[in-house]
């Protein structure tokens, strides 16, 4: 087996891994290898064809679900990870959430004071790191003319219902509003990691290896001296459309002084589990948060053309503090949307033919933490099992949010409003409402799996960060409590929901840890 040696091995090239690699390369002369399980598909490979791009860019070809098959858990498996396939929605990390994490989980550092020097490192704080990330991604609000009709109607509906509404910020530059963000950006307008931090890292000498599936981390020693020394991986054949790879297909062993796992909240715990990472308190993989989302679909009198233009530009955080949910304007791609709509046969086709007049937005729940919701590596099927069910309190909030969403959609002028559900509610065979007063039937929704379509794009919280090894897996430096020279840094380390769409929170965390690590290399003998 070939052996590749380096100082730092970063597993995962998404929001966290790309920023870590680029930051370390910028601030040190370390030899860094950045590995990615998916392919390296750049603009020229983004065909805009939904099924083809799902196979190329998404985990499980876009069909990764919870174990019961009920919730699609979307994630990017490609260079750039989720940042390559998301719709460029940027919400800043929430200071109050991080303050709560500091208080409840004993975390040190993570100051939002731009003058702070956390861990005794000059100018290390989240405020500065966030500003740097925002500048690199060109985060800015869309112009008035970039708000499409679907978003305009959503905003009008919120205002008519007395609900505050805001404009998203987007990480874009030179967007032509083709509306195909989720299929990958063909013109590199979306300022994903694919076109920012990954090239930054590569320009500074980081070796990027894609199509590289890490089978297991290599751990040496026992007990308190257990140490990560590298990983074993298999490089697959380059798929059509991908850029050339640095290493040829076949098995490879990486030797590294420090291993950083940044493979996301599903794959990171699975990798640790199959590598035999000690878990004396049964914490690894537990406490999965998904931000479950429910679509609200409106049938308007006039053409909306919701699939045209920038998909998401408006949102409401009106109920975040009081009830823990967002309303966010989004619209599903055609085939995925077809699966979401209720029914089949002529009724379904009749609804599909209304496509130009359909508007939609989503309710996104900031779900609570439950130990029962978790990721478990399945050694037989060789894949992570995602065990997740909506808790009772989350379901109650989702019902309230659904009712509110239906009212907002009617207030936006929709003639009829429906949910992606085939549950009977009240006297209705399905939640398809012809009058605003019927929104009250949402209180009867059972939200049962395979009756109502709930989706997720924000897995978090499966390798939790905290200072107590009995309740967490990594410390505030993202270092494993159990294994030396092993860090985990991605959305999996969040102790609870980060309170917003997580991209900027993850990238800011990675920038912070990259800067910190560059000043503390001695902790790992580098």
């Amino acid at each position: 087996m070939r052996t590749e040696s380096c100082d730092v091995l970063v597993v995962g090239s998404g929001a966290a891994g790309s920023v870590l690699a680029a930051t370390l390369a910028e601030r040190t002369d370390l030899d860094i290898v950045l590995v990615e399980g998916g392919g390296h598909f750049a603009g020229e490979a983004m065909t805009g064809r939904e099924g083809e791009m799902a196979e190329r860019l998404y985990a499980g070809g876009g069909r990764r679900t919870t174990e019961d098959g009920a919730i699609v858990v979307r994630g990017g498996t490609c260079v750039g990870g989720g940042t390559t396939v998301n719709v460029a929605l940027c919400l800043d990390p929430v200071a109050s959430v991080w303050e709560r994490w500091r208080r409840d989980h004993g975390l040190t550092g993570f100051s939002f004071d731009p003058g702070a020097s956390d861990h005794g490192i000059a100018e290390l704080n989240l405020a500065r790191c966030l500003a740097e990330v925002r500048a690199r991604l060109n985060v800015h609000p869309p112009a008035d003319q970039e708000i499409n009709e679907n978003n305009r109607l959503f905003a009008a509906g919120c205002r008519a219902a007395g609900i505050s509404v805001r404009r998203f910020e987007l990480n874009m530059s030179g967007c032509t509003a083709c509306g195909l963000c989720a299929a990958g950006c063909a013109i590199d307008a979306k300022q994903s990691a694919l076109v920012t931090y990954v090239p930054d890292a590569v320009k500074r000498g980081v070796r990027l290896v894609h199509h590289c599936r890490v089978e297991t981390l290599e751990l040496e020693g026992d007990g308190a001296t257990r140490t990560a020394v590298g990983a074993r991986a298999t490089i697959g054949p380059r798929r059509e459309g991908s850029r050339p790879n640095l290493l040829a297909p076949g098995p490879v062993r990486f030797r590294a002084g420090l291993v950083i796992v940044a493979a996301g909240a599903i794959e990171s715990p699975a990798l640790l589990q199959r590598s035999g990472h000690p878990d004396p308190h049964d914490r690894l993989g537990r406490g999965l948060v998904l931000h479950p989302s429910l679509g609200i679909i409106g049938l308007h009198e006039h053409q909306v053309a919701a699939g045209t233009g920038i998909e998401g530009t408006m949102y409401s955080d009106h109920f975040v503090a009081s009830h823990g949910f967002f309303l966010q304007c989004l619209f599903a791609p055609l085939a995925a949307g077809a699966c979401t709509l209720p029914g089949f046969g002529p009724e379904h086709f009749a609804l599909m033919r209304q496509l130009p007049r359909l508007g939609a937005f989503g309710v996104m729940l900031l779900d609570g933490v439950s130990d029962q919701n978790r990721v478990v590596w399945d050694p037989i099927e060789q894949r992570p099992r995602i065990q997740y069910r909506l808790g009772r309190s989350d379901r109650a909030r989702m019902r309230f949010a659904a009712r509110l969403g239906v009212e907002v959609m009617f207030a936006a002028g929709a003639r009829e409003v429906l949910l992606p559900s085939e549950e009977p509610v009240g006297p209705l065979e399905t939640p398809w409402f012809r009058h605003p007063s019927e929104a009250a039937y949402c209180s009867e929704l059972a939200l049962d799996p395979h009756s109502t379509v709930v989706a997720s794009s924000h897995a978090q919280g499966t390798v939790k960060m905290g200072e107590d090894p009995a309740t967490s897996v990594v410390n505030a430096r993202c270092e494993s409590h159990q294994v030396q020279n092993l860090m985990v840094c991605d959305s999996s380390v969040f102790p609870t929901s980060c309170g917003v769409n997580p991209m900027l929170s993850v990238m800011t965390l990675a920038r912070y840890q990259g800067r910190r690590l560059a000043a503390e290399l001695g902790r790992h003998g580098l």
């Binding site: 983004m46 805009g48 064809r49 939904e50 099924g51 019961d68 098959g69 009920a70 032509t176 083709c178 509306g179 195909l180 063909a186 013109i187 053309a305 699939g307 045209t308 055609l334 085939a335 995925a336 077809a338 699966c339 089949f344 046969g345 002529p346 379904h348 086709f349 009749a350 599909m352 033919r353 496509l355 130009p356 029962q372 069910r389 009772r392 085939e422 009977p424 049962d448 799996p449 395979h450 009756s451």
Partner: protein, 157 residues
């Protein structure tokens, strides 16, 4: 493939609207991709709808436990759901005759049969419905004929 081809055709016809004059002409073979053979073959046997196998029971128990249904009540709740499904199947058979298989049944019966699975009290049965429906629709709406038929304008890039 030869054994399941009539089932695939019967399913695709039921899920889509090939009987609608406005539905575009497409080849069923274009959208048969990815349908799991074992699932299709068991779905085809109408009588199996009333059989509560171990996997169906286990999935339901897991759900009920998660929903904090007391242990002592779980068997009763499962029995009630089984009875409700059996009664719905009997009602279906009274309406459409003593059907044994899905594939050769008339279109209206096939759609009513799909609806049985969609509205079952058992999560495992609803999963069969969402899986079959999803695979057919996901493949069908990737076809340019369907895109055009529903007024989807592929953006220029």
């Amino acid at each position: 493939m030869s054994e399941r081809r009539p089932i695939v055709r019967a399913l695709v016809e039921a899920v889509l609207a090939l009987d609608d004059p406005d539905f575009p002409a497409i080849e069923v073979e274009q959208i048969a991709w990815g349908l799991p053979p074992a699932l299709l073959l068991s779905f085809d046997q109408v009588g199996l709808f009333a059989v509560i196998d171990a996997a169906t029971r286990r999935a339901e128990r897991d759900l009920l436990i998660h929903d904090v249904v007391p242990d002592a009540d779980i068997d009763r709740v499962v029995a009630e759901k089984a009875l409700a499904d059996r009664q719905r199947l009997e009602s279906f058979l009274r309406q459409f005759g003593p059907l044994e298989r899905f594939a050769p049944a008339p279109l209206a019966a096939r759609r009513a049969y799909l609806r049985l699975w969609a509205r079952s009290g058992f999560v495992a049965r609803r999963r069969v419905y969402t899986t079959l429906k999803g695979l057919v629709l996901m493949t069908a709406y990737a076809l340019p004929e369907l895109e055009r038929a529903v007024g989807f304008e592929r953006p220029g890039r």
